[in-house]
């Protein structure tokens, strides 16, 4: 790849259960303001400033069609080019990356926002299912994901205790993350005694309702080097869809993630992910997903992620710390979650992650997911070299 694209600044709001004190645009601007201040950039399409914005939001959560209209006065899109992505926001990073590589734009602002507090989650999620064959059965992501968790446990012998260890690890890691919503000191027993929602998924296996936003500035290499002394390079990226219908695939496997990861690793020149990647931020909306996605990402063989959590490989200080931020389980809104992973990883690679810093981190894996049972998977590999 001749041209390179860097993240030159990234910022998050603090994640919160209910930001009814702000509009979507005001919430987004809390993150946008930080990246504008950090870079000194403004909106300009004459080669001196931000010449495009990619926003990420979802109409059903915002309660209006063209949900990007909520933030056009806050992200500069009334002054320049704008595109909206309505999937997980890792795909917005992917889109901005492509805009720059195409030669069309030099400096792109990427913004994601969502206020989960303002809508009914199960109704929105139910509307994601095929209306004829699945929606009428009353599925939401929780019930569909519980089918996946059962199948994963059955096929590979992964246990509820191993899922609980993910919940304990990530909420503990969140104590070091000033943006995290729910840092917690909990035990495996606390998770296994928490309220059963949809067997085998319990309350502490799930993430809380969350409001928040994330903003990022991407630039082509020549511009990036002028904007920051610590550019974080996007070295590999890809995405992939699973089949939609729940019965069409073995839910214990995640072929779309395998496929997305393979392409992203090929681009980044990674052949042995567990050895070559220093830190991973993985979108685990449910505790079992961190283990299943680790397998899809090639950190271990199929069914072996339970052994990695047992051996402490993924905890802080382990060979591959996974979710030093606390992950989605500690509170990120859907839509924003993937960019939160990318922003956290960028901080890690700049050596600016404070108490959650993985010492010497040079290569990071970030991952975002849209929909139930890992419907759509996106992988972004970052490097500071």
């Amino acid at each position: 790849m001749a041209e390179r694209v860097a993240i030159v600044a990234a910022a998050q709001t603090k994640y919160h259960p209910d930001r009814s004190d702000v509009t979507e645009g005001e919430l987004a601007y809390e993150a946008i303001e930080k990246v504008l201040q950090e870079t000194g950039l403004t909106y300009a399409d004459d080669g001196t400033g931000i010449d495009s914005s990619v926003t990420c939001s979802q109409d059903f959560w915002d309660g209006r069609t063209m949900s990007n209209l909520n933030i056009i006065s806050y992200d500069g899109s009334h002054l320049s080019c704008e595109d909206k992505i309505a999937e997980d926001s890792t795909n917005a990073v992917y889109c901005a990356f492509g805009q720059i590589l195409s030669g069309q734009h030099d400096i792109v602002l990427v913004v994601s926002h969502c206020k989960e507090s303002q809508a009914e989650k199960s109704i929105i999620e139910n509307a994601a299912f095929d209306p004829i064959f699945m929606r009428l059965l009353g599925f939401d992501f929780l019930t569909a994901n519980a089918l996946q968790a059962t199948r994963y446990m059955y096929k590979y012998g992964v246990t509820a205790e191993q899922f609980a260890k993910v919940a304990v690890k990530n909420r503990g890691n969140a104590k070091n993350n000033p943006f995290a919503q729910e840092p917690m000191d909990i035990t495996v027993g606390d998770v296994l005694r928490s309220k059963m929602l949809v067997d085998p998924i319990r309350l502490l296996d799930t993430k809380p309702t969350s409001d928040g936003a994330c903003a990022m500035i991407l630039a082509r290499e020549e511009k990036a080097r002028k904007l920051t002394a610590k550019p974080v390079w996007i070295s590999g990226v890809s995405n992939c869809y699973e089949t939609h219908y729940l019965g069409d695939r073995d839910l214990a496997d995640c072929d779309a993630l395998v496929s997305a990861a393979r392409r992203a690793y090929d681009m980044a020149g990674i052949t042995d992910p567990l050895r070559e990647i220093d830190v991973a931020e993985i979108s685990e909306e449910y505790s079992y997903q961190e283990l299943l996605w680790m397998e899809g990402l090639g950190f271990c063989g199929r069914g072996e992620a339970g052994k990695l959590i047992d051996a402490g490989v993924t905890q802080m200080g382990g060979q591959l710390p996974v979710n030093p931020s606390g992950g989605m389980l500690s509170g990120n809104p859907t839509v924003v979650a993937g960019m939160a992973r990318v922003a956290e990883a960028a901080q890690q690679l700049r050596g600016e992650a404070g108490d959650r810093q993985v010492p010497g981190a040079g290569v990071a894996l970030t991952h975002g997911v849209t929909g139930f049972c890992g419907q759509h998977q996106c992988v972004v590999v970052l490097s500071n070299k």
């Binding site: 009814s20 019965g247 069409d248």
Partner: protein, 155 residues
């Protein structure tokens, strides 16, 4: 009026986007649903190239993208591939909790059918158990996936 914005109450307005929708089942989907309603039969469609039988049927094969037209009747009995039991109520559920959900691979099909499970103690559910379809009575069948009431353990 308060001098500082932070001292004001923050107003929040309730709203609801209420959009009547229709959804086309397509002719292939319609045939499947009409068979449920009229004959209590579960039908699939076979890809002649890949040899896969899809249930519910669809008009193209997702592997070879070929157009599908070879109908096959599959059994109303099959094997439970996975299950989950919802204890948490939600506004989208069609019946009261607890609801057992399952994915059933019917004999003669290569895919699983997602549905509810009934007449079973959740503790007794096991991946691999044999189940069979229980249909609603004729006057309650309306050519819907819910014309199958649920799947229950066989024997």
């Amino acid at each position: 009026m308060a001098d500082k914005l932070e001292e004001l109450e923050s107003l929040v307005f309730a709203g609801k986007v209420d959009i009547p929708n229709t959804y086309s089942a397509g002719l292939v989907g319609s045939r499947f649903l009409i068979e449920l309603r009229d004959n209590k039969k579960i039908t699939g469609i076979k890809c002649p190239t890949c040899n896969r039988v899809y249930v519910p049927p669809r008009s193209t094969c997702k592997y070879c993208f070929g157009k599908l037209s070879e109908w096959v009747e599959v059994s109303n009995k099959g094997t439970l591939l996975t299950y989950a039991v919802a204890y948490q109520p939600s506004p989208v559920q069609p019946v009261e909790v607890p609801i057992a959900y399952g994915i059933v691979q019917l004999d003669g099909a290569d895919t699983g059918l997602a549905h509810m499970l009934g007449e079973v103690d959740p503790e007794q559910l096991k991946v691999g158990m044999k189940v069979k379809a229980v249909f609603k009575v004729k006057k309650e069948r309306v050519a819907s996936i819910l014309d199958i009431k649920y799947f229950k353990p066989l024997g």
